[in-house]
Every structure is written in structure tokens, then in C-alpha cells.
Symmetry: D2
């Protein structure tokens, strides 16, 4: 008889090293997903997904294929609404104590140019990171990266003409007690910079944005403070972490600021 | 009167440097697109897009916003079928002599595990690169990156037991005279390695693939040759370029081979 | 008189938003550095550097150029030994309460092949992250990424012949109470995998490593546990965080495990 | 007797598929190198190296370890001067017809700020790509990426105040008949933008650069043309390819231009 006729379950064997593992799972799964969209109800996009559970000290390994099976069950939709359900399903399938799910994806929003009202699609990189732990304790963090334009107050003040400006990236992560649309966070963040950026601009828009940025100079320090004030005005938010990075136009490195608060 | 009341068209001004520019345009536009799918007719995915035209020596600049406007006109669909039409539209809008369009996107295919027949989605990075030039001369190149498993023939031959193997990436670019499904190219390429890779595998599948790879050891040199033979058997293909890269499991660098042929 | 004759110090102006900023500074500075080398005393390499300080709520901005000036003062050497001194210099120049310095660089070690003893250079990505805070409280974390080879215990057990294996990356971050050579950490980590990887191997070495890996199959779970046990045997270490990632040869995603401990 | 006592040379076996392979070798070797430096004679840096040879249709494989051995022989120095010698050594060791060597590395230059004359190090990514083929035919291409600042002529013209500007990247590849210092190419390229960028700037420098850029607005089209004119003035250069990419501060995509000429 073939010794391999019954395939041994090596992962299920006991482990004697007495070491609990915090997270074990699959990383960088690429998957097409559907997410909630404030205007169009749903949106098709593509995601990079990480799924982890913890592993008691007494087991040798995890059955990695179950992560993909769970993903297949929810193929239709991964949203803020069913995130907890997916995490619960992970706990159940793995008989685990904690489950972690991270989903990163480009999210597209149609934005109107400020004067011509020409429409263009803007991409914002989003990330949902959820943990479900002991006693059904849930923790969900949303993150969005918002590209903006920033104009240097010092350069404007000391120069006879012009002022250096550049593309900046504002990365905002937040926890919330009531549902918040990513669209609303983006609006708050874009209002915290010298000017927003767009994919489609006509000459009248370019003039408008150039002058708007010149009239609202902001250091990277100002950006994290303004973003903080704007997020503090949203009662749904309980915690945030703001990172601003300016791709300096006079340097080949970035200016950076970081501000984190529990509300 | 405001000197800016009529916004001057700086790009349209003449240029005296007498230098024709080969390509000018927009790069790294992120855009949700719909592409043709052999099984499901169409597929939603997200792309990174480059659009360029040439610029005669007599003009100072290009009107970049027109690229985004053209993209908006075709938002619904970017496929092999309407690629030439989009390029023609670019020539027309810019009064240009040559137009270039590059669209890179993840493409998802449902693949059945070899024994359990469990279904999982695999991502393949694809790229369409098209040029439309003088005399309506069209050139379209398709590219796909296929991850595979490769097992070293030397390691197998000289070792008492086992053989080192690793993930490999086969990048195939090709020109064609008749329509070819990306799915069919991928099948040919996966058949040119030690074994294919999958997103979802059960134990019976893992056993099957381990033995299949062990029974079909291949150097990176073998992989480009087998892929070449398999592509040469497709009458639709007129040119190809094959790059194989092994993420060596015994080194921290890659083994690489490159083979290009006009048929 | 030119209104700009005396250049106003905009950054030094007061700020009324009452928001303390955790970190502000420069990011992704590229710089050639000299680090300590166990065998050759010192080693030239190139780094990517981040430097941040905190900013009291009462000030509008930071003087970013001072970060580069400090870097210039220490150009000759950035090592574990003078890290605290650089952080102190940052506190002093910025009149700040906390200072952060992150230095990431490739570190090269000459490694002998296991049988032929042929010598080759291996690159290991290292990162020093230091913080100096209130009450002169210092926190220094060292990190190194060690590429290894891993062979799947399940695949070996269930297959008639062969076993899938792949390149793995073990990322170890640690705190310590006594000086530890990066070289010694790397030795411990490489001993925690199925086999080490090398840049130069002859056939006798390839045979040796193939068999060594086949004789020591390890899941990603085994790797973090073995690495943990090996680091726990070093009395200098007070805390560690281990991440293992396998670039699976039968999948296009990674298997991942994470284990963190305070000793 | 052990069947493996004499290790079979699988690579040296004949191949019957009758397919010549254009390039086979190793990719992404990380290596510390020493290059020529106009001011300091030599400079230590770190490189990513690719080495390929062709493979006649009659052989099954290449002996990859020889590439690393050759690299070890020249460890001390990889420069424009000994590039041909390394390529010749590759042809000889592999009995090949063509050899390819690609070396990519950050190169550091001390640059003085324009007014304060404060000194800072700037990093420029360089790449040497060489081929030695039949009849001792040599082809060497040098490439450097120069970060600069660019200010939009349209934005300046149409706006009441200010003008959007951003970091740009100018990638120049060139062939030459007489030796050219990378430093001299960089000087020409930096003179072709609205203003250079620096790592260390004091307030007087920031004022100077802001005004300089405002006084010299340039489209991405202007940049490739100016760079072309500047390179055409160097009699050593026989061919060039210029790519300019602006990290637009009003968009989240890049403006791009490409100009290639044989002189």
C-alpha cells in the first residue's frame, strides 16, 4: 500500500516549543473586490489583501488554504459593513482567538474641476485594517492617502515673486464610532492643504488653483494641524493619525510631519 | 482691464529651437477599466495608463488635458478591439503624426486546482502598448507576466534527495496577426515551466504539484526555450520576446534568460 | 529699501492652534555612510535617512536645514556607538523634547560557501531606529532582513519525491542591553531556517544545501519559533519582533508569521 | 559506490531544441563598488548589477557561479575605464559571443548652495550598460537621473500671482566617443531646468531659487529641448535619449516628454 494514500495533516501535529504565535497567514493576495461608493452605491476595484490569525503554542501550523476559501465566500463584496462578519468567519474556521484582515485598494471618485466643472476621476489609495480579538473585541482602522498641493509660506514671504510649491501626500488613519464615508474624509483633508489636485483641469481651473495655493501657503506642520482640526470637528471620529509628506520641489528629499490623537 | 481676462494659450506659441519631440504626454494615470474576458465576456479592473503624441518642432507645447478627455470618452471599455480607435482619436485631437497608448492592469482568471478542482482567482499583470504612426501604420504589443514554479535540474541530478525550486516569473511580449486571448497565452506559458502556481490548493493538489515539478526540472534557459517553442506553435503570433526570472531559493539574486524572435 | 533685505523667519512665528506635533523633519535623505564591521572594523555603504523632532504647540514650524547640517557634522560615521550623540545633538539644535533618527542601509558580509569555501558577498538590509526623549530616555531598535531558504514539511511528508521550497525573508527587530554585532544576529537567524542562502555556490555546495534543506523542513510558523528560541538564548537581547515571509513557490502570494516578545 | 560521488555537469549537456538564447545570467546582484569621482578620485557606493552572456543553441545551460567569480576579481573597482576589460573577461570565461554588464548605483556629489555656499551631498542615480559583441564590437551607454525644479509657463502667464511648480526628474542616457565626467553631464542637465535642487539650503538660497525658477518657466517639452541643445554642444557625445517627468503639483499623474537623437 502506498504510504501516501492518506495524506498526513502535518500542520495539525502538536508543537512542544511552547511558543504562541501572534499572527500567521497569507500576505499580498491580489483580488478583485466591490466596495461601497457614496454616489454610485458600489464600485469595482482591485485589492491587495492580508489575512492572519493567531496560533496557540500547542499547534505546529495553520491551514493556509482556508484563508483563500473564506475570501472566495465573500468575493462579491468587502465593505465596512461586512468586515466584522469576515473576521468572525476567520475566527470560526481557524478556531483562533484573534483574526486580522487588511485590504488595500485604489478608490476612484469623480471630481469636478473648480471653475470649468470638467469631470475627471481621481484615485485615492485606501486601506481597511480590522482585528477581532478575545471577548469579541473589534478594532477597525480606515486609512486613505490624499494627494494635495502645498505652497511654502517661507518661500512666499522672503521671495520677490513666486513661491515654491509641490505635490504633497496626506495619509490619514482613523477609528470611528459611527459610519463615515471615505468621500467625506477626503473632502476634509483636501480642505487642509494649499489646494486640492485634480486629474482634469482646463486653463481657467489652473489659474484658479495657482492663485488659491498662493493665497493659502502651508508648511507640512500647518497641514497636519489643519487636518487635525478638521477631523476633530467630525463627531464620528474617536482617534486619528495624520502623516503629511511634501515631495519638496527645491530638494530631492521629503519634508514630513506626524500627529496622532485620541479624542 | 484685467490682463488675464483672456487666458493666453502658451502651449500654442511657436518654438524656434527646431527640435521635434518624439513623445509628449501624461504618465501613470490611474483609471478603472473594463477589458474583454474569455469566460465572462468582460472584467472590471484598474489600470495605470500612459498616453503620448509627437510634437512638431514648430510648437512650444501640448494641451495635456486633452489626454484625460479622450480617456473619459472611452471610460467604459479599453480592449484590444478599440485600441486603434483610441489611438486614432489621439491623432485627431492633437493633430499629431504618431500616438502611443500604454495600459497596464491586473487581469484575474479563475483557475481550478489540478486534483481537488478547488477554484481560486489568479492575478496576471498585463500590458497593452500601441502605436499609430504615419500612413496609419499600427503596432500593437501585448505583454503578460506569468508566475510559475521552477525546479533546478542540476540540484536534482547531484543531490541524494530533494531539489531546490522557487517561484519564477515569465514575462512574454508578443505581436500577432489574428486575435489571441490572453488566457490562451497564459496556458501555453504555464505549460512551459516545472509547474503552474495557484491561489488555492488542497493537500492532494500540493502533492501533485510537488511531484510534477520534481519530474520536470527546468533551468531558466529551458523555460525560455520551451516557452519559445510553445509560442512558435501559435500561427497568430508574428513576434515575441520572452524573459524568465527565477527568484532563486539558494541565492538572494535572480537567474535570468531572454529570448526574442521574429517569426 | 528692499522689503526682503532682512529675510523674515516665518517658522519661528507663534502658532495659535494649540496643537503639539509628535514628529516633524526630513524623510528619505540619501547619504553615504560608514558603519562598524565586525571583521573589517568599518564598512562604506549608502543609507536612506529620516530625522524628526517634536514641535511645541506654540511654534509654527521647524528649520529643516538644521537636520542636514547635523548629518554633515557626523558624515564620517553613523554607528550604534554615536547614535545617542547624534540624537542629543538634534535635541540641542532644535530645542526639542524628543528626537528620532532612522538609518536604513545595505550591509555586506563575506560568506564562505559551506563545502567549497568559495567566498562571496551577501547583502543584508539593516535599519537603526533611535529615539531620545524626556529625561534623556533612550530607545534604540536594530533591524535586519535575512534572506533564507525554506522547505515545506507538509509537501515533503505527503509527496512521493521532492518537496516545494522557496526563498524566505526573516525580518528581525530587537532591543538590547549590551552591544550585539549584526553578524551574530544574522548567524542565529540563518540557523533558524531550512538552509542559509549565498551569493556564490559551486556544485558541491548546491548539493549540500539541497540536502540540508530537505532534511530540515520548516513552516513559516517553525521559522518564527526557531528564531525566537535562538534570540532568547542571547542574554544581551531584551525585546524582539520576528516576521517571516515565504515567497511561496506554489502560490503567487506569501505565507507570513509574526512573533513579538519582551524578555 | 555513491552515484553522486562525481557531480554531473548538467549545464554542459547538449541541447537539441535548436534555440539560441540572446541573454542568460544573473540579475539584481547587490555589491559594494568603487567608482571614479572627478573631485575625490574615487567614491565608495553600492550597486545593483546584472550580468548576461549569450548561449549557443547546442548547450543546455550556463554556469551561473562564474558571474559572481568575475565580479569578485574586480571587487575593488568598476569604472568606465575597466568596463571593457570586465566584459572581455566574461566572453573568455563563458566562451560566449556577446556579454552584457549593467551596473546601477547612487553617486554622491557635494554641491554648494547658490548664495550661502553651504555644502550638502546630492544623490544622482547612475547606470552603466555595456555590451561586447562579435568582432570585439563594444557599446557603452551611461545614464543619470537628475532631479530638478520646474515651473509651469502657462500657470505663470495666466495667473495673477504665483505659478505652480514641482520636482521633475530628467533621465539622460548617452553614448560618447571621448570620456565624459558624469559631473559635467549633471551640470548641463541642471542648467536645462527652471532651477536645480539641493540637499542643504538656507533662507537666502531658498529666496534665490524661488525667484530663479519663477524667472525661467519651462514646460516638460522645454526641458527635453533645452537638455538636447546642451548635450548637442558637447562634442564627446554621439547619441542621447532624454526623458523628462514632472511630478505635477496640480495633478496626481506626471507630465512626460521623450527626445532621442543620434548626432
Amino acid at each position: 500500500m502506498n504510504k501516501k494514500a492518506v495524506l498526513k495533516d502535518v500542520q495539525a501535529e502538536p508543537d512542544s516549543r511552547n511558543l504562541y504565535i501572534d499572527k500567521v497567514g497569507v500576505k499580498d493576495i491580489k483580488y478583485p473586490i466591490i466596495v461601497l461608493d457614496k454616489v454610485n452605491k458600489t464600485q469595482h476595484t482591485t485589492a491587495s489583501i492580508n489575512m492572519y490569525v493567531d496560533l496557540p503554542h500547542s499547534f505546529k501550523g495553520t491551514h493556509m488554504s482556508r484563508f483563500i476559501e473564506i475570501l472566495n465566500e465573500y468575493r462579491g463584496e468587502i465593505t465596512v459593513n461586512n468586515f466584522s462578519e469576515i473576521l468572525k468567519r476567520m475566527l470560526y474556521r481557524f478556531e483562533a482567538t484573534t483574526a486580522h484582515l487588511e485590504v488595500e485598494f485604489p478608490y476612484f471618485i469623480e471630481k469636478m474641476a473648480p471653475v470649468s466643472e470638467a469631470k475627471g476621476l481621481m484615485e485615492y489609495m485606501c486601506k481597511y485594517s480590522g482585528t477581532l480579538g478575545e471577548g469579541n473585541k473589534k478594532d477597525l482602522v480606515l486609512q486613505v492617502i490624499v494627494p494635495v498641493s502645498t505652497l511654502c509660506p517661507c518661500s512666499k514671504e522672503i521671495s520677490e515673486r513666486g513661491a515654491h510649491n509641490q505635490r504633497g501626500l496626506i495619509k490619514v488613519a482613523f477609528r470611528f464610532k459611527d459610519f463615515v464615508w471615505i468621500e467625506d474624509i477626503i473632502t476634509k483633508v483636501e480642505g487642509s492643504a494649499s489646494s486640492p489636485v485634480y486629474s482634469l483641469l482646463k486653463r481657467v481651473d489652473e489659474k484658479h488653483l495657482t492663485e488659491q495655493a498662493y493665497d493659502k501657503p502651508m508648511f507640512v506642520e500647518d497641514i497636519v494641524r489643519e487636518t487635525a482640526l478638521n477631523l476633530m470637528s467630525m463627531s464620528e471620529i474617536t482617534w486619528f493619525r495624520i502623516e503629511a509628506e511634501n515631495l519638496e520641489s527645491i530638494h530631492n528629499h521629503s519634508a514630513y510631519a506626524f500627529l496622532e490623537r485620541t479624542l
